[in-house]
């Protein structure tokens, strides 16, 4: 129970801190039996974002997504009726993997084994040599659906038989807070890497700004901080029932490099340069710069359990930290940006994605070392500052789900 007063900082803290703890046992969380419990009690019970509607622009558009903790492959498809649905990627005949390509546009899905054919709405519509299946009712053999809902541009799935909360309940105050902010974006970067580190260790690297002064001194020497905020404290940090978020403050003294200036003058300002935007305007989305901080740079939101959303004015980044087992995590990153109309816009995108990629590469550089240290068993606990409060939140939510699910 955390009833300690807050230390002085510029940070405005919002939300219930009563369940947060500043000391967290990570050693117990990297044990195989603990991870098995997390799969059952966390990953099977949570709403999990898996893709974006940007990837599903027209009826028949589909994308195949692997969900490593559930050992599941799912097909997310925009049906002929425009609805987005998710199905296990399994043919109902002999359980072959149905769709082999990663993405595309199809009128139907045909299994390569015996040609069973499914509509984009998941119905079994064709059985090869059907008369040889005595008494077969095709209505009983549609694709197996996964609970699927769309929020803003994000497609969520839930593997529970009966989700205990709707997606709206799961998202809480964020649900109505973006009002189309992510619409009309296009994908500009997509990377992945598998690291030998526990998933908690990996997501923790992206939900605090305390490290930025040190780890990012080569890639981001002056994008935050400045004379009035030398330790780069977060100006706003909020703890929600499941999720957490903070805002980062831009450094008004940031000096653009010549190539950064060239690109961003030809297109739009993107990280690590931040345009001024009047977030106090009456209709501005309440979840973008939710603390209405001055010199706002971007927000970082952890959608529990394993997704991080980073959003600035002209871009947003989706990051997944999918556990494969207690020792390995697949990290997927997709960057989206305002739609490019001109060559200058494309160059702006290019500059952004490369600066962003290099920062990401720095962020992943500590994970395997941390995991290896924890595996020695010498040190069980880590200690977290109030600037790392989203990590405290992460572990409090995980603990509650492990104890009560």
């Amino acid at each position: 129970m955390n009833s300690a007063p807050l230390a002085p900082s510029i940070t405005v803290f919002k939300g219930d801190r009563s369940k947060l703890e500043s000391k967290v046992n990570l050693l117990e969380r990297i044990q195989p039996s603990y991870f098995k419990g997390e799969v059952d009690k966390i990953f099977k019970k949570s709403w999990l974002p898996v893709t974006s509607t940007v990837e599903l622009p027209e009826p028949g558009s589909f994308i195949v997504v692997d969900v490593p903790p559930l050992k599941a492959s799912i097909v997310v498809v925009r049906g002929s009726d425009g609805e987005v649905r998710a199905f296990y990627n399994i043919c109902r005949h002999r359980a072959n993997k149905l769709e082999m390509s990663e993405r595309g546009v199809k009128k139907s899905f045909a299994c390569e084994f015996h040609g069973w054919n499914y509509s984009t709405r998941g119905k079994l519509v064709g059985v090869t040599d059907e008369t040889q299946f005595v008494g077969l009712d095709k209505n009983d053999y549609g694709l197996i659906a996964v609970h699927c809902e769309v929020w803003e541009t994000f497609v969520f799935v839930n593997f529970d038989d009966k989700p205990s909360q709707t997606l709206k309940e799961w998202l809480g105050v964020m649900h109505d807070g973006y009002q189309g902010f992510f619409d009309t974006r296009e994908q500009i970067a997509h990377w992945s890497i598998t690291v030998k580190a526990n998933w908690h260790v990996t997501i923790n690297a992206f939900t605090e700004g305390y490290h930025s002064l040190f780890l990012h001194k080569a890639t981001l020497p002056d994008y935050q901080g400045g004379n009035d905020n030398p330790m780069r404290h977060r100006p706003f940090l909020e703890i929600m029932e499941h999720h957490g978020r903070y805002s980062a403050k831009a450094n008004p003294l940031h000096k653009m490099t010549p190539v950064e200036k060239l690109c961003y003058e030809a297109g739009r300002l993107m990280y690590p340069a931040f345009p001024h935007i009047d977030t106090s305007a009456p209709n501005f989305p309440t979840s973008v710069n939710p603390g209405r901080v001055e010199n706002w740079a971007f927000d970082i939101t952890e959608l529990f359990p394993c997704f991080v959303l980073i959003n600035g004015v002209n871009w947003h980044q989706c990051m997944w930290f999918w556990p494969i087992d207690e020792n390995h995590t697949e990290i997927r990153v997709i960057d989206y940006a305002y739609p490019a109309q001109t060559i200058g816009d494309h160059l702006s995108h290019s500059y952004f994605r490369v600066r962003n990629r290099e920062v990401f590469r720095e962020d992943i550089s500590t994970m395997e070392a941390i995991h290896a240290s924890l595996k020695t068993g010498v040190m069980a606990d880590v200690v977290l500052s109030q600037q790392e409060m989203l990590l405290q939140k992460h572990y409090a939510v995980a603990k509650e789900m492990m104890e009560h699910a």
């Binding site: 296009e186 997509h190 990377w191 890497i193 490099t257 190539v259 060239l262 494309h346 992943i364 500590t366």
Partner: protein
């Protein structure tokens, strides 16, 4: 997906439009067609080698941008496409020079070849 970009089945032209003929000797090495190969190039060379490319490109980068500006990216072909790839390679490799890195790679980064590239940016 992103259909705005030209397909890169298009053969690479080793010539540049007339105003930039003086940069043609850079084309074979630096007019690279997608993020993945530009990244692989970056982490495989010395900073001194990169510096030579950077120093040649910087004075003409704005003029190249202005020259390409009237065009739509999906219509770029031939020497215009080559010029664009030269410019994008410059943009995507400038940071080790501009941020005064010791090398072209990040000091404490993971082994660079472990990063996988997917989607539209892996193709252009």
């Amino acid at each position: 997906m992103n259909s705005k970009h030209p397909t890169h089945a298009t053969p690479i032209k080793h010539t540049l439009p007339a105003p930039f003929k003086n940069l043609e000797h850079l084309v074979g090495e630096w007019a690279l067609p997608n993020e993945q190969v530009r990244y692989a190039k970056l982490v495989s060379i010395s900073k001194a080698h990169l510096q030579v490319f950077f120093d040649e490109m910087l004075p003409q980068a704005k003029a190249i941008m202005d020259f390409l500006a009237p065009h739509e990216i999906k219509n770029l072909q031939g020497d215009l496409l080559t010029l664009y790839h030269l410019l994008v390679t410059f943009v995507e490799t400038a940071h080790p020079i501009e941020l005064n890195w010791e090398t072209t790679n990040i000091e404490f980064s993971e082994e660079p070849t472990r990063l996988n590239f997917h989607g539209p940016s892996a193709q252009h």
